[in-house]
Subunit: 207 residues, 4 copies
């Protein structure tokens, strides 16, 4: 197994999962009330779509940066990568469930939002497992320096902490939890990914 | 992040989005009237399918020409690219909604057609944002010459103007608005994309 | 536009379209009669799935052989390629419609089977249009020799003829028409694609 | 046909099929009982999702290792590869059917589980057919040594045997059959794929 086909397959799964999110965008159609009203009452679906879309997009960006530095591909890495992808692929389901229950309101909106946060948290853990795998000597082209490791872990545990708190907050206010999960996406968009640290300028150039 | 993986991921999203359009092609099935009649009454779905299919196809072609010249990939570009893709992925939803309301007729056909035009307009703006990003010194292999910039902007704002007018026209006649949006696609098919301007012959050859 | 990204995008569309065929494989589920009986009464869906799957697979193989020899990519080729893909993407819809009406029986089974044949015929015409495009001087790495052109056209018009006859036969016996369309797929699997003719042995080797 | 486009197309089909599995993850939504209860009663869907996800993932890994060594691509290989993919693409259907009948219980849970095992068995046979194809002289870069052939066959027939026994067990206890099919996936994750045998260390390194 060479790295490039791992990337190609993962890219395919990311691309399909991010596009399937849009299957959740739908209205009941003619005969179910005014269209503007339907669109308005579905606002959780649109907000959820954007948050999930950008979160998958960011994980894809970070996945690339992480994998790009990898020198060998073993069975453990393949397993960890499949585990990460299994949670990525579950995001459209978690998004659809969360959006429909947030629209309906009631007690289960809390449970659905906690489920949404939990899937994101699990995906994030899967990503961190791959990162920890890369730290072993000889698995990367350039060893990840100690200070970069800790910087990455700090950033990672910050995101983890927000997801975990959001799961708890979901049982008090689903909307606040949704905003928190959205802010994690915004934070990661403008924050460099850990593994790109060693040669930042070189990474950015085309090769 | 190197450019080729940005292309691979974007290609995947374009390919899935363009194929998901076909999920909107469906008839109610046996027991809901004659098949020919069902197919005939669904003509907006077939016209909408073709227009959306070719519009996504053209944006893919132009996206390639634009990205091909890019030398560095930074966080801003990744964000703008995700924004563009988020609207591309929303096109199957906008297409399905427009087609079902145009079939049903009534007041909401106007709203649905305006929504359809608005998603195309937003996608077009996302594309133009990437184009403007490329104009900064050092971001492309070959600097985009001043006259090509203005030619591109003229072409772009022409398309934008038609989309905006079509959104307005949608509230008077959805069918006329649909024809206008279709004509934009036809126009762009036979019009060269801006960023390919510098070395037209070289671009066209295989490398 | 270089050829490799045309291939990548087309590969993506072929792969998604061929996989979406399986969405048509479904049973009504628990509470709708014995599972074996449901599976048995859905036999047209399974036969249609196999025929459509292999037909798309073969068109993909032939598309590759055709595009592999192309030296320049112009707007006309991009348009013809999008036209071909628009019919490829419509195949899951035509397959689902045909299978459900063939299962239900009645007059509309004839119309649905004719529609199925017509989409295959249109896809085939789109493919031939690309082939004719390649015959112009300078568009391919190696010019297609005259005798290969005619051999290709004979093979192509043979397939066309069968599709057209099948559309007619569909109004007499949908099952016979389905068998004919299936036989075209079998024929093309074991028949070399035209454009690969010039250097058959070289084509087959890895590069 | 060169090998790399065979890989690209197959990767695309694997990626779409593995992602479509998640369409089976769904709950009835608001108004159909408590969400936690719905999620709990859908446990077969979640277990089936994981087993199918990892099985497709492993077949993808093994497919890569097998194809990587191939030197020529002929019509027979293309046909065998399409046959393998036709069963891969049928897995989401088999998974959804099995999960819904296992949830509902009753006599048809046995039939649905046997169907699930049969699709896995057929996919496995399709894979073995490609492996046998590679054993002919001159079809691979490095000939597969005799001892590796037998080791591969032993491993393969072990998996086949478990699938066949699981199909039989399905008529006694669907849950036990499901566990057996899951264990095959676990076994193959941590077992090297046959064709990678010749130069194990070299295979693992990036090229």
């Amino acid at each position: 197994m060479d790295r490039s086909r791992l990337e190609a397959f993962s890219d395919g799964v990311f691309a399909v999962a991010i596009t399937l999110l849009a299957l959740n965008l739908s209205v009941a159609g003619p005969g179910h009330g005014r269209l503007l009203h339907q669109l308005g009452s579905h606002w959780p679906a649109f907000v959820a779509y954007l948050i999930s879309f950008f979160t998958i997009g960011i994980i894809w960006v970070n996945h690339h940066a992480l994998v790009h530095n990898i020198a060998i591909v073993d069975r453990t890495l393949l397993f960890l990568n499949l585990l990460l992808l299994a949670f990525v692929v579950a995001i459209p389901f978690a998004t659809a469930t969360m959006a429909s229950y947030l629209t309906a309101g009631g007690q289960d909106a809390h449970v659905a939002m906690a489920l949404y946060g939990a899937v994101f948290d699990a995906m994030s853990l899967g990503f961190m497992a791959i990162f920890e795998w890369t730290l072993h000597e000889g698995r990367t082209h350039q060893p990840v320096p100690q200070e970069a490791r800790w910087a990455a872990r700090v950033r990672f545990y910050a995101g983890q902490l927000v997801y975990l708190v959001a799961i708890g907050i979901a049982f008090i206010s689903p909307s606040v939890a949704l905003i928190m999960i959205g802010l994690v996406a915004v934070y990661y968009i403008f924050e460099r990914t850990p593994s790109a640290a060693p040669s930042a300028s070189g990474q950015a150039e085309e090769r």
